[in-house]
């Protein structure tokens, strides 16, 4: 994927910092919304993203199916990401990569930092599209050693699809969500053979495709089974598990992939003046996706519960963009 212009180009772009809409996050939601806004005639739209290239999570999901609804084709994640970026660029969206928003201020004033320095972006409307991430081991409070080889699916995928690196050879996969299936596909692609898939509940979270997948990939699925201890001071060497009868045993492995249990990436909201639902950790929004400060909107997996696949985020991005267009045109009734 081409790296987008940064450096001087970006410094110049950001210098004129009065935007119609600033979007935080260049994943499917943010890119779809940006493209939609431009198509609807909104002049100055910028997408800010802290990563070095745009596309969000699909960049490192090297397998299909992506793009069925949006582009009427079956694509892999990376080609889907490239397509989204291409559409946004063709529509005239400004993309500022390596640009981290450090705080959300009143009335759409964002503090940012990029390799060129600290700055500020002002926009009439801001769309928060920061997505979600999986819950790490620490928050799950899993007992045991803290050696290398413990990660989430997202990390596994970035290592394999972006860096061609393998974090382990024979991991245990924890969880049976859609993303867990994605973890199995990723392992297969990299020649990693998971030794077991564990699910604490008595049935898989998504029965299709998990039951098929474990059969196809030859990964034994243990239901009603949870990790009670991770062993391996320097690097994982085994996990101790307990099954539904309370019987305990050890599974030899060299890694643990904690999949799913997505949590919204809402730390910017938490540290800001915007209202946050403390239980779900999502920003509080009205039926239009508008936050407690009406210059802010939120969409995509930052709000979705449970998280949705890229196509659904793309749709939400488009819908929210339409609301923002109406709002900017002062058509939206005050609530």
């Amino acid at each position: 994927m081409n790296h987008l212009p940064s450096g001087k180009w970006m410094a110049d772009t950001l210098k004129d910092n009065r935007w119609d809409v600033a979007i935080i996050g260049a994943g499917p939601t943010g890119l779809a919304a940006a493209t939609e806004l431009k198509k609807a005639g909104i002049k100055r739209v910028i997408v800010l993203d802290r990563e070095f290239e745009p596309g969000g999570i699909p960049r490192h999901c090297g397998h299909p199916p992506f793009g069925i609804k949006e582009f009427s084709r079956v694509m892999t994640g990376p080609s889907y990401a490239r397509r989204l970026v291409g559409s946004a660029e063709n529509a005239g969206v400004n993309l500022a990569m390596k640009t981290t928003v450090t705080s959300l201020g009143a009335q759409g004033t964002l503090s940012i930092v990029s390799p060129e320095g600290l700055g500020e972006v002002k926009a009439k409307r801001v769309l928060l599209a920061t997505g979600a991430r999986e819950t790490p081991r620490s928050v799950r409070m899993i007992s045991g050693d803290r050696g290398l080889g413990i990660c989430n699916t997202g990390t596994l995928q970035s290592m394999i699809y972006l860096n061609n690196l393998i974090p382990f050879h024979r991991p245990v996969v924890v969880g049976t969500e859609i993303v867990s299936f994605s973890a199995l596909l990723t392992c297969k692609k990299a020649g990693i053979q998971p030794v077991a898939m564990l699910e604490e509940e008595s049935r898989a979270t998504v029965r299709w495709p998990i039951y098929h997948a474990v059969y196809i990939f030859g990964v034994p699925l243990f239901l009603g089974t949870r990790i009670i201890n991770i062993l391996g001071d320097k690097r994982v060497r085994a996990v101790r598990v307990s099954d539904k009868n309370g019987d305990k045993r050890e599974i030899v492995c060299d890694g643990v992939v904690f999949t799913g249990q997505f949590t919204p990436d809402s730390s910017l909201v938490r540290m800001s003046h915007l209202d946050l639902d403390q239980k779900t950790e999502r920003p509080l929004v009205d039926q239009y996706g508008r936050c407690s400060d009406p210059s802010y909107y939120a969409a995509g997996n930052l709000l979705n519960q449970p998280v949705e696949v890229a196509g659904k985020c793309w749709s939400k991005g488009c819908l929210t963009a339409q609301q923002i267009v109406k709002d900017l045109n002062e058509e939206l009734l005050s609530t």
């Binding site: 930092v113 390799p115 409070m141 803290r146 997202g154 970035s158 974090p167 050879h169 001071d233």
Partner: protein, 482 residues
């Protein structure tokens, strides 16, 4: 790797290794690169000695020093008149004196000794008396309403508190790094993966055997922390104390919790331990811990779900707003407790050997004072060195949240760890520094990478790439074929 590990069950002894060539020679060999070893290396270098620090791990701070509460103690509750109290006082003063020149941060948090029960409150008179005896004169008794004025988010069940304005929060990893760096910048040497496997004293010089060769020195300072007793037994043939490893687990809360409390919230201490503390960290988080769990294994710093949940519950009880704050991390450290409460500083003057044992939670503060004590012990033996004039003063990178960070200066390349705002420039410096990070843990301590909310979700892949070939235990174990 050929790192030597002290282990009760298998003590490696390799004749081929012990006949190896001379690795280094100096006036003083310091065994152990924890905070105490680093501080002694600095002090003795500044006093003019040639110092060789040898560490069995690949990096400094691999034992007890990697997990502590990061508090700069006034010593208000130290046992009156003890060496520990003296070292804490001197260490405290010296830290404040040198910290700016070394670029070491200080969070002037102050502490509150909080009483939650009548019994605890009854002990306040004794605590204040002891504080005064220890020379900490600015203790202040606060009523319930005064406490809540100062810390409005504390639970209303608080009964009273003693304010200890001089207790501060520091960076527990940058400080020892700065100490060792200053030693090295001024002529000291440090060797890693060099665990001592025995040694001989010929009446004038020690020859210590390490897997990397022999180290020759006139004096040896045992700063081996959790393995101090084993080292004495192995090399001297006997030990005066036995390490009783004591685990302390911690829960780290999200940065959103930092604003909930300004002070370090100390419990009323017991005979055995300082107890469970709720404290802001220099990195902008809030932490609760440590527990005090006796265990056999010196290297077992695993965490336990039930204990972590209990710690979490205790924190929420004291600071109810924590209910809504996510947990960021959990970890555990091990303190080198012994069968007695006091420091076990033992001098074998016939054999030019000093053991610094049993140094627990006060070690971070006391290290600089302990180092001065070592110097005075040597001086008493008529060992004279000529102090260096105008020593080089290195700067360590700042990681404190309340001070300017690297990302605020342009040209950092890119931000690698987004949660902790760690730049590629910082990672690069840590990997190529004079004392480079030699493990992911070492890189974390030097930069904070992966220590934030997502615990490496976003940056581990980039880190695996940036650290390729740098660590004995790499993040990646192979490459994708084709």
């Amino acid at each position: 790797m050929n790192a030597a590990h002290y282990n009760e069950n298998s003590r490696p002894h390799d004749d081929r290794i012990s006949t190896a060539s001379l690795l280094a020679e100096g006036d003083i060999a310091i065994i152990g690169g924890g905070v105490v070893g680093c501080a002694v290396a600095r002090r003795m270098t500044l006093e003019g000695a040639s110092v060789v620090l040898i560490e069995k791990a690949a990096d400094i701070l691999d034992g007890a020093s990697k997990g502590n509460s990061a508090i700069l103690h006034t010593g208000f509750d130290a046992p009156v008149g003890t060496l520990e109290w003296e070292c804490v006082q001197k260490g405290y003063e010296e830290y404040l004196e040198i910290r700016k020149s070394l670029n070491l941060p200080l969070l002037k948090s102050g502490a509150l000794v909080a009483a939650w029960t009548e019994e605890e409150e009854e002990r306040f008179t004794d605590i204040i008396k002891k504080g005064h005896e220890n020379g900490v004169k600015d203790l202040l008794l606060l009523s319930r309403s005064e406490v809540l004025d100062l810390e409005p988010n504390l639970s209303e069940n608080i009964r009273a508190a003693i304010a200890v304005p001089g207790e501060y929060v520091i960076d527990p990893w940058s400080a020892p790094l700065a100490y060792l760096l200053q030693a090295l910048e001024n002529g000291g040497q440090a060797f890693f993966n060099a665990g001592v496997r025995g040694g001989d004293f010929d009446g004038a010089y020690w020859l210590l055997n390490t897997p990397r060769g022999k180290v020759k020195a006139r004096y040896v300072i045992n700063c081996a922390g959790l393995y101090g007793d084993i080292l004495d037994r192995d090399v001297l043939g006997a030990t005066e104390f036995n390490i009783k490893p004591r685990k302390g687990q911690f829960v780290v809360f999200d940065k959103a919790a930092h604003k909930l409390v300004r002070s370090i919230i100390l419990p009323v201490p017991t005979e055995r331990t300082k107890g469970i503390v709720l404290f802001p960290t220099i990195f902008g988080n809030l932490m609760v811990g440590p527990t005090a769990e006796e265990q056999e294994a010196r290297g077992d710093s695993s965490v336990a779900k039930e204990i972590l949940s209990e710690l979490h519950a205790q924190a929420v009880q004291k600071l109810p707003a924590l209910t809504d704050i996510p947990v960021t991390a959990t970890y555990a450290g091990i303190r080198p407790a012994t069968e007695r409460k006091e420091y076990r500083i033992i001098e074998d003057s016939a054999r030019n050997w000093i053991t610094l044992g049993g140094i627990r939670s006060t070690g971070l503060t006391a290290a600089l004072g302990i180092a001065r004590h070592v110097h005075s012990l040597l001086s008493n033996q008529d060992v004279e060195f000529k102090a260096i004039e105008n020593p080089i003063v290195p700067h360590v990178p700042n990681l404190a949240e309340h001070l300017p960070r690297d990302y605020e200066t342009p040209g950092y390349g890119e931000i690698i760890c987004h949660c902790e705002m760690v730049t590629r420039r910082e990672i690069h410096s840590a990997l190529t520094a004079k004392v480079p990070a030699a493990s992911l843990a070492g890189l974390k301590r030097r930069t904070r990478a992966t220590m934030g909310r997502c615990q490496g979700f976003y940056c581990s892949a980039r880190l695996a790439e940036l650290t390729r070939g740098k660590f004995d235990e790499p993040l990646a174990v192979g490459e994708v074929d084709g």
